[in-house]
Subunit: 400 residues, 4 copies
């Protein structure tokens, strides 16, 4: 269906990842940047009927009263991560896009996040059902105004405090009934998931928040013939872990300990500085090693806010392993990447592949997208090379 | 054929890699060490009929008048790379094994290597044919004395000055006739290859030297129904390159430059300190990136002798790549491994898999072993994960 | 007073630092090792009348029922930090020395440390005064039996939970009266300090524990004409901080953040793994930067137990600074040192310099020894180069 | 003499260091930047009568036909090292300054440098004397037009091929007579030195080129009552070496090897890529360790052109040392700095201190400025902390 028109609806649309995604999409539309960093632009995916830059329209939800242009300038001048000339050329487009971004929900988003929101939103009182319906309204209008065939909702909002997914009933029917009560334990990310899935749109959770990672919402996705996937975009240290750990396994090295320290200083770092929110993230970064090795080396993962770093996340990893005859050896790596620039192209890739999956009639979880996630749902595969092969295999199976 | 008796014949049998291989095999025989670092011991290879430790016998060629025990002590006390208690327990076995190691050949081995040899060998004058026949005698005696069903010859001798493989005729018949002349350009490593293949034994070239990497010797292997593979064991920096580069490719990052500096201080380092010998190695370390990326980033690879390092090879790699919107990012790694301990288990693995291949009737090159080599012959595959899958696929196809 | 006989009395005499100190002293006595790492052996200190190896006798206190030889073997085989041949040659001497080590005190040593002690000691009930008197008896016997002119007490026992020094009265007279009560808040390290100072012997606190770092104990030192110094030996990351930070200051770079992560796995690491004990250490590692810069960059220091590291402490530091025109730049360092081997020579140096100070009639704190400490008492100087010059200036002023 | 007017005359005025120096001075004049990175702005130098930003005028020589503004943009967009907003604000000033930069000389500047020059200059034929006189004319006009009391000439031009200083006579009188011949072996940097000194102006050699580092030119400086200093600005790896090596010495560690690899990609890197020019640099980077240690560890220093790095110079240093009991340990550091931004403030500092020295009547070499140089002339002091104390001592001795 060449020429199909696709919306990308970003939750957290004025955050670092979203702003960079938007700058990038605008630049791609105008031919101002190359396709570096975009997985969906690799030659092995050429035959796929992926959404063209010109057929993509952007909208979203956020909770802060800021302008996209100011947020883009922060990436240029505070973080020195985006070339200023690019933002200069996109000034007007960025300013216009502010109109496409609407007030989201703070339902169970936690204290830290609520502090960031503008006053009116902080004051708003809604049941989950009311919130979901209001949010759905925004997307429906957006889809209509822009004659969209499909809208992929991608959650790139702040990491929420952790919630135990086991608390919730297993079927959509049971869960649905809780939405009208005000002591429903679902966090905002799940409400956004419901918003998307009820509309029959794909939902992608790029964050470690709960989102749709519970049976009841998978049930909803399937009954509405749509798909979803998550969670937590794999952009830096974990990408390297899932690339390097299989090598250690295949060489039969015995990894004794794997220590990783991450420092960065953007708004995400400030949110994760809150112990409640950090917990959600640390779990997500640490679970894959045991799965790959079949045993559990001692691990330590920290993620700390260091203001001066801005969007630059630096990870130092120290891998202590035994070689032949038990001799201890060490590999260390240092990763210095601009976090939002690592994430943004994957958001675009996920939106395109998610859109394609929906058009292909795929429903429920989409494990063929696991290479994009730290903790991929619906699969136990954590080896990056094999995850990538799953994506290739799926796309090969699609006639264009 | 459980219980098949296998010889491992090491060329360079008193070098660091060989000594460690021997210490390791003796320790495995006596149950003094775990199987860490041995690929052939991974559970996915359990069903294969690989040679048991107790059915393996060791012999070899070298050119120096030193004892295995002294060389083992160097690994313990100079390099601090092997636990002294282990060598203590293997003292007598190591001493006995000296008798299994015979004078090799210095034919076209180059000035640097010749300097290391004992005087009598330096003085020896032979045509290549005479040399090959003398060397074959050693193995034949060894096989007979130990009732061996097969002998795998593994070249772990010093890296020779580089030779252009294009100089040689394409068929064994043509090449064979050159062996009787004294201006034959074949280096020692190739004579060892001929020695093995003429006897119908597999030949594995763990070094970057020429060995059997020419058509005429593949011809010989096939006509003698035996197999061979090379070259240059993949133990450190290149292992990481072949693991990490595919990740950069799969994420569509644009690698602008990849710089690698290697320092170490063992005898191999001293040999490679000679520009002629180093050339052979540097080529071998640098060719895979373009193959993986499909374009050629700027690369720089050095390998330098630093005495104090002993057997510890430290590599620092600096990978400069563009992410989304052209933003430059950096990954660096530091690898600190004991070189001979990284190599030795692979020598054992290669001998076991080579032995199996021969028993399976495989002839010619064995690209399913490419994961063990920096510059695998007979395949263009340089992605470590895929190379490993080739090995798994081959072994899966074998009924035990 | 050439030929003066000196005792070194180690608190924590069977710990990693003490064991290494003892192995080192025995090796120096027998000429089995060079003087690498010993500051007191630098040529600029040649003219000083420092205690000769042969005139040094070792004794100490500990709380665990283990043998010095076993602890030394741990350094050889678990940590791979000491050459096994050395311990082999000192076997008998180490075994004899066990007899010189007596039961210390657990008074206010905290839960974590008490767990390590042998049962009899755990059960022992004493007032601080009784404990001090018992401990003094051990040293008095030791001094007499070995005809010692002086005994330097060095605290290398486990780091205690932190205690607020402000709690205690300012004069020895007032403090002394608290010793007979059983709710006295002084920790064990301070009792050891009192033990030394009451005997007129110098006390050196190599740990971050309280020790003699309160006015009342300085008062005691002065009235007994003896000296003391502390605290927390400067052996790794902090040594580098106090060396590098002055360079950043002298170049007028603006350090925005300084992050330091430390991992190690010996018994000290296990003690510091307890949050109460860790607090004492972290404070000690972090205070010098503001003093050197005159402003406070954002800092982060962690120190974590990773079992596989044994005695090897690895520190990764990331220094983010502004250069000219505000351009952000980065320096990172990685320090890989064997902790006890870094500490032991300094223990010997401090004992020798402390002994000399006492013989020179110096009383109270000895800030000329500040280069050996993370948090030197009695001085605000934290620049390592200047601290070292203080030591040189003091020794130059001494006629030999 | 507050209000004294000072010229800074840059040789290589359109290079990376010079352009950054000029951008910086213009920004300081307009209050657009802080004084980070400027040593002369440290509080301990407050009392000195150093030239005010507003009393400094800039001129210089170069050999290329490029505009300062374009070169400044390169630092912004190619190297991402200067904030673009700053250059935007200085556009007009930079453009005007092009008029103050005149054609220099290529006399004995070597093949590599000559290639960069514009055609007319390549064709120009002059004796050294003619060249010096022509160049002096430019400065004389500049001084007059701007009513300058003093002009400090700073050489920041490309590193020349190495020349043996021993070739030249020891007195100015003898050397002077060679200037009229066309086979005079003096390189361009020395002609610039003569130009300055003959005019009675200070000459500072920020490069490793010969400049005034020969007796005959020190003779000239003294007889003309002016001063000079060099050579090779100490901005990165060597700064760290001269800071860290004294610590290793003071702890009596035995440094076995010190390996340093440097990569960068600006125009300086391209010049140094020529083996003749690189030789001049490598010598300069490697001599200080033996002086500090009193013995010579194995060293290795490379400096390589990697295009993608632009002005960012990354150094990885691996320091292998023995601690107590001979145990080998490792310190590594990684330095990531923008080369021209590290150099530029020192150029300004040197000009200000050189101007002050001249006004103070200092003649000949100025070793109190040694902290700014890799290979300081007129002193054997290579310890950075001590060099800095020399500067402090000198300035303290000056009444303001
Ligand atoms: N490399 C990466 O950047 C990366 C990788 C994996 C995951 N993530 C995750 O992506 C998310 C976004 O990262 P970021 O760096 O852009 O963070 P950010 O803090 O810059 O942006 C988050 C945005 O979400 C908005 N927001 C918060 N709660 C909201 C709510 N309830 N509804 C609507 N908007 C809300 C905030 O106002 C903000 O604009 C985080 O959860 C992060 O952990 C990022
Ligand atoms: N990680 C690794 O150690 C590694 C990885 C890949 C390849 N290799 C290669 O393996 C080889 C062995 O490495 P090493 O560290 O053991 O080196 P080494 O120098 O310790 O040992 C080489 C041995 O070969 C012997 N020798 C040299 N020429 C010979 C000849 N013509 N015939 C017989 N013996 C000869 C030498 O006497 C010596 O004992 C080298 O070519 C090296 O480049 C090693
Ligand atoms: N580089 C270094 O190793 C270094 C540097 C600075 C400071 N320190 C400090 O030195 C101390 C010793 O370090 P270590 O690595 O040898 O630790 P360790 O745990 O190996 O040894 C401590 C010893 O003290 C003993 N001990 C504990 N409480 C005692 C008490 N109340 N009385 C007598 N003995 C007692 C323990 O039984 C143990 O034998 C620690 O406080 C550490 O923080 C070490
Ligand atoms: N951190 C640093 O950047 C640093 C540190 C120490 C020394 N240096 C030295 O400073 C010098 C300048 O470095 P850069 O990065 O600015 O180099 P660059 O190549 O950017 O600039 C050199 C400039 O000198 C000009 N030039 C060359 N030969 C000349 C001549 N004979 N007369 C007049 N102009 C001439 C060139 O045209 C160019 O504009 C180099 O020698 C470098 O080695 C730089
Ligand atoms: Na982020
Ligand atoms: Na080797």
């Amino acid at each position: 269906m060449a020429g199909s028109r696709t919306g990308i609806w970003l939750i957290g649309a004025k955050g670092g990842v979203a702003t960079t995604t938007i700058v990038g999409l605008l630049a791609l539309k105008k031919g101002l940047t190359e396709n570096v960093g975009l997985v969906s632009e690799l030659k092995q995916f050429d035959h796929l009927d992926l959404a063209d830059w010109n057929n993509i329209v952007i909208g979203g939800h956020d909770i802060r009263d800021v302008s996209l242009l100011d947020e883009a300038y922060k990436m240029v001048f505070e973080s020195r991560a985006i070339d200023g000339r690019l933002v200069e050329k996109l000034k007007d487009d960025l300013t216009s896009l502010d109109a496409n971004i609407h007030d989201g929900t703070l339902y169970n988003a936690g204290k830290k996040i609520t502090e960031f929101a503008h006053a009116k939103l902080q004051a708003l009182q809604e049941t989950p059902r009311e919130a979901v319906d209001r949010l759905k309204g925004h997307i429906a209008d957006f889809a209509k105004a822009n004659s969209l065939d499909n809208v992929v909702v991608v959650n790139v909002s702040s990491t929420e405090p952790s919630v135990d997914g086991e608390l919730f009933p297993k079927t959509w029917k049971e869960l649905e009934s809780q939405l009208s009560t005000s002591d429903c334990k679902l966090p905002a990310s799940s409400l956004y998931g419901i918003m998307a899935l009820e509309l029959g749109y794909p939902f992608i959770n790029f964050t470690p928040s709960l989102g749709t990672a519970i049976d009841a919402l998978d049930d909803l996705a399937k009954s509405n013939s749509t798909c979803h996937m998550g969670h937590d975009g794999k952009t830096g240290e974990t990408l390297l872990k899932s690339t390097l750990a299989p090598m250690f396994a295949n060489r039969n090295f015995k990894v004794m300990s794997w220590v990783g320290h991450n420092i960065f200083g953007n708004m995400d770092a400030k949110v994760l500085d809150d112990p409640e929110n950090k917990k959600t993230k640390a779990v997500s970064k640490d679970r894959l090693l045991s799965k790959i090795f079949g045993y559990t080396p001692q691990t330590l993962v920290t993620i700390e806010n260091i203001d001066s770093m801005g969007d630059w996340k630096t990870a130092w990893d120290h891998i202590h392993f035994q070689g032949f005859l038990g001799t201890p050896m060490v590999m260390q790596f240092i990763w210095q990447g601009a976090d939002s620039l690592l994430a943004a192209p994957l958001v675009i890739d996920l939106a395109r592949f998610g859109d394609l999956a929906k058009r292909q009639g795929c429903t429920g979880l989409q494990p063929q997208l696991s290479c994009f996630f730290k903790s991929p749902l619906g699969t136990e595969e954590n080896d990056f090379a094999k995850q990538f092969q799953m994506l290739e295999a799926w796309t090969e199976s699609i006639k264009s």
